[in-house]
Assembly symmetry: C2
């Protein structure tokens, strides 16, 4: 036997990436074999190599497309005041990441398994995303709406805080996604409120 009924490249390609996404997220890149991915798709190992030059590229492509989608979707409304831009970013981040738990997990956990060139490209994309938040913070500081000692650290603190949500949030839990968004908006905004002068 060889080519099976109803085989199409347009279907197999995405299905391979979907299977890799799920398996990498669940077990980790290094712990997943090409044969497991093929089995998930319902295909033999060799067929995978019509769609990716190697395993490493499969991982890189998943990360790249996730981060480029993130950057494309994250268009900060510059007409808003800094406080509202910050609230918008917070809500955007939580919603976007919550809808893609597997992509997020991989993008933050499998950096080690990228070849140096690929690593640099992914880091650059992540840097672009962080810059969008930092720009909001910087502009808030320049108008006096925000107060913080170091905008770079504040940026990283906010990102870490928001990204941490994906490690514990499960749908159907105690709190709705809206509850979480509004509480995080409050917490993030508080980070930049000047201390009261007694």
């Amino acid at each position: 036997m060889a080519r099976t009924t109803g085989s199409h490249a347009e279907q197999t390609g995405p299905r391979i990436r979907a299977a890799a996404l799920t398996l990498f997220a669940r077990h980790g890149f290094a712990a997943v074999s090409m044969r497991q991915i093929a089995a998930e798709v319902g295909v033999q190992v060799g067929a995978l190599y019509n769609y990716t030059p190697d395993k490493q590229s499969l991982l890189f492509e998943l990360m790249r497309s996730h981060l480029e989608g993130l950057l494309e979707a994250c268009v900060v409304p510059t007409n808003l005041a800094p406080q509202d831009q910050l609230a918008w970013f917070t809500r955007f981040h939580i919603r976007y990441h919550h809808a893609r738990p597997e992509e997020v997990f991989i993008a933050y956990m499998e950096l080690r398994n990228l070849a140096p060139d690929n690593f640099a490209r992914i880091e650059a994309l992540r840097g672009c995303y962080e810059k969008k938040l930092e720009d909001i913070i910087v502009s808030g500081c320049s108008t006096g709406a925000f107060n913080t000692r170091d905008t770079k650290i504040a940026t990283l603190a906010v990102i870490a805080m928001l990204t941490g949500i994906t490690t514990w949030f499960r749908p159907g839990g105690r709190l709705s996604l809206e509850d979480i968004q509004s509480q995080y908006v409050q917490m993030v905004q508080r980070l930049f409120v000047p201390d009261p002068r007694p």
Copy 2:
């Protein structure tokens, strides 16, 4: 050849754990072979099995000892006011984790590779640590010193924010460890300051 000059169990055991720690942190559990660990120690593969029943136990032991050390060291001074307890915890967390980057990295990245029983034990230990912080937050809320919508979420937000430091902080950088501690103390405390009523 067999037993080499100067071979002692008291030395080899710790050296194996140290090598595993470094290699797991650098390349990930699944990507490191027992032969690599043995080579790092300067020993043959078989010798490792005098010190660990298998590779999985090696990982578990690293995580367990890290978290138990963390719990043992984290004794919150209950005589302080909640604000000061929170500041103490923030400084403690940053300092303790900064001194052990490899342990921290493994404890947060390799949970997937734990067998179910081991995973449950590690999660329980981590829960104990988070509880120490939550107790501070709860006590602050009960005295009115703190304000927050949900203590559980606030706890996880603070932990995520603090733990995120290890992903970017490198010694010799722009900021000293003391700078970082004091800025994070400020940010964490701000998280619990009630919003101004106009």
